[in-house]
C-alpha cells in the first residue's frame, strides 16, 4: 500500500500552517503505511544560504560539536538545530557541496537526508503520528511539502528505506507502488555517475528524475520519461525548490486524488487525507489521469 500526501500553497497566508496541515494529512494515511513515515518541507529560501539535513542513529555523539567541526572543515560559518535524530545545518550556499563531502569524513555514520536552499527531510521508522511529533513537523512553516507513510514491500523497514528520497539538490520523490526494473535502471544510472544509499526501488525513481534534470530536462519532461523507462506500479509525487508534480503509471492501480482551491493544490492517496483542509468542500476535486504529468511551480 503506502500513503502519500502533498500540499502546494498558493496563498502565503497559509504558509505558517503548512506543517500542521501536512501532519494532519499524514496521520490520516496511517492505515496505508504504519511502518515508517517521512516528510519533506520546503521553506522560503534565504538568499545565499543553504541547508543540509543529516540523520544519525547516535545524535548525542554525532551532533554535539558538529557545527564547529563542519565550520572548520569548510571554512565557513555553520549554524544548526537538532530535532531528535536529525540535525539541520545552515551554511553558505556555495559551500553546500563541500559540506556534503566533509560530512563523510567527519561523521561517517551520519546520513544526509537532504541538501538544498529550501528543503528539509525528516524520516524515521514508526507510526506517522510519532514520527511527526518527534520532529515537531506541525510547527513548521513553508511553501510546499510532501509526506509519505510506508508499508514496505521492496526493501527493509529502515530509516533510509523510508520516503521521501532525495537524490539531488532541493529534489525529492515519494512513491506508492513497486518497480520491477529498478535493478537494471540503477545499473545504468550508476554508470552515469549517480550514487545510491539503498537497494530500494523508489530511490532509483528519484535518481532517474534527478539525472534527467541534471541533463537539462524540465521537471515535466523528467516526469514524462518515467512513463517510458520505469516498469512497474507507481504513483509518484515529486518535490522541487519551486513546486511539485504528480504522475501515475498507465495502469493506475495506485490511488490518487487531487484538490485545488485559490489557496492551494493538495494531493492525497485518498480523499479522506484532505477532509480537514480549509475550504475543501468547495475545492475542485479530481482523480489524476493515468500516464499524465501534472505539476505546479511558483
Amino acid at each position: 500500500m503506502c500513503g502519500i500526501v502533498g500540499l502546494f500553497l498558493k496563498d502565503p497566508k497559509l504558509e505558517p500552517q503548512l506543517g500542521a496541515l501536512l501532519t494532519d494529512m499524514l496521520i490520516t494515511m496511517t492505515d496505508r503505511g504504519p511502518d515508517s513515515a517521512g516528510i519533506a518541507i520546503y521553506g522560503r529560501p534565504e538568499k545565499g544560504r543553504a541547508k543540509l539535513t543529516v540523520q544519525s542513529a547516535d545524535p548525542d555523539v554525532d551532533f554535539a560539536t558538529l557545527t564547529d567541526d563542519l565550520g572548520r572543515a569548510i571554512a565557513a560559518k555553520v549554524t544548526g538545530h537538532v530535532k531528535d535524530t536529525h540535525m539541520v545545518l545552515e551554511l553558505p550556499e556555495d559551500r553546500l557541496d563541500a559540506a556534503r563531502h566533509a560530512m563523510r569524513g567527519l561523521r561517517p555514520m551520519a546520513k544526509v537526508m537532504s541538501a538544498g536552499e529550501g528543503i528539509e527531510i525528516y524520516k524515521e521508522v514508526g507510526l506517522p503520528k510519532d514520527v511527526a511529533a518527534r520532529f515537531e513537523v506541525a510547527r513548521m512553516s513553508g511553501t510546499h511539502g510532501i509526506g509519505h507513510t510506508r508499508m514496505a514491500t521492496e526493501s527493509a523497514v529502515t530509516t533510509m528505506g523510508a520516503h521521501p528520497f532525495s537524490t539531488g539538490s532541493d529534489q525529492c520523490l515519494v512513491h506508492n507502488g513497486s518497480l520491477s526494473n529498478h535493478n537494471s535502471v540503477r545499473r545504468v544510472l550508476k554508470q552515469a555517475g549517480m550514487t545510491f544509499e539503498t537497494e530500494n526501488d523508489t530511490e532509483v525513481a528519484a535518481a532517474f528524475i534527478s539525472h534527467k534534470l541534471q541533463e537539462g530536462a524540465k521537471l515535466g519532461e523528467a516526469m514524462e520519461a518515467t512513463l517510458t523507462d520505469l516498469d512497474g506500479f507507481f504513483t509518484f509525487v515529486v518535490g522541487t525548490k519551486n513546486g511539485f508534480g504528480v504522475v501515475r503509471d498507465p495502469i493506475a492501480c495506485k490511488p490518487a486524488v487531487m484538490a485545488e482551491t485559490d489557496q492551494y493544490v493538495a494531493f492525497g492517496s485518498e480523499y479522506r487525507a484532505m477532509v480537514n483542509l480549509p475550504g475543501i468542500d468547495n475545492a475542485r476535486v479530481w482523480e489524476p489521469e493515468p500516464a499524465t504529468v501534472y505539476f505546479w511551480e511558483r
Binding site: P250, A252, P255, V257, E270, Y271, R272, A273, E287, P290
Partner: protein, 229 residues
Amino acid sequence: MQTFDLTAQGLRALNSTLHGLKGQTNMTAWEIINPKGAHAIAVGLDAPVDVTVRGSTGYYCAGMNKQATVRVKGSAGPGVAENMMSGTVIIDGDASQYAGATGRGGLLVIKGNASSRCGISMKGIDIVVHGNIGHMSAFMAQSGNMVVLGDAGEALGDSLYEARLFVRGSVKSLGADCVEKEMRPEHLAILADLLKRGEADHLAKPEEFKRYGSARKLYTFNIDNASSY
C-alpha cells in the same frame, strides 16, 4: 428521516444499525452526515431503505448492496457498489476505480465520471455513467448493461462475455474480442429504460449511442446456452 453522524458514532455502529433494518418496515429514510471519505459506508445493506450520504466516500461504499437505495451527495472512492446484488446506488459526483465491479444486479448511476475498470467482471448489474469512463472498463464483463453518455478510455470491454455496452461518445480503443454491434429495436428499448431510470433521459437519446459487445471468438460461446446470459 433518521440522521446518523458518522464522525460522532463510528462506522461499525452505522453498518450494524443499517443491517438491523432487515425485515423492518419503519425507519426507511436515512441520512449519513460527516462521511469524510471513510471506507465501507453502508456496506451489505439488505432492506428496502433509502440512505443519503452527505459528502464524499472512501473505498467500497454500498458494496454488496441488496434492495436499498444509496445516494452519495459527493464523489465515491474505489469499488463503489462492488458486488451489488440489487437496489440502486446513485453517485452525484465522480467514482474512482472499479465502480460496480462484479455486480450481480441492481442499478448503479454515476452522474460524474467513472475512472478505470468501471464494471470490471460485471455479472448482471446495470451501470449508467453520465460522464466518461476510464481504461479497461467492462473487462471480462459477463452480463448486464453499461451505458456511458460520454467517452470510454482504452481497451473497452476486453475479453468481454455477454454484457452489453452502450457508449454515446468516442471509444479510445476496444479491448480484445470487443466489437461494435448493430443497434436493434430491443437495444433501443433497453437504453430508453436505463436512461430513464439512470436520471439521464433529459441528457441523451437512445439513438445517439453505439452498441459494443463480444465477438465471441475468445471464449467458448455455445448458442444452446444463450438463455443463461
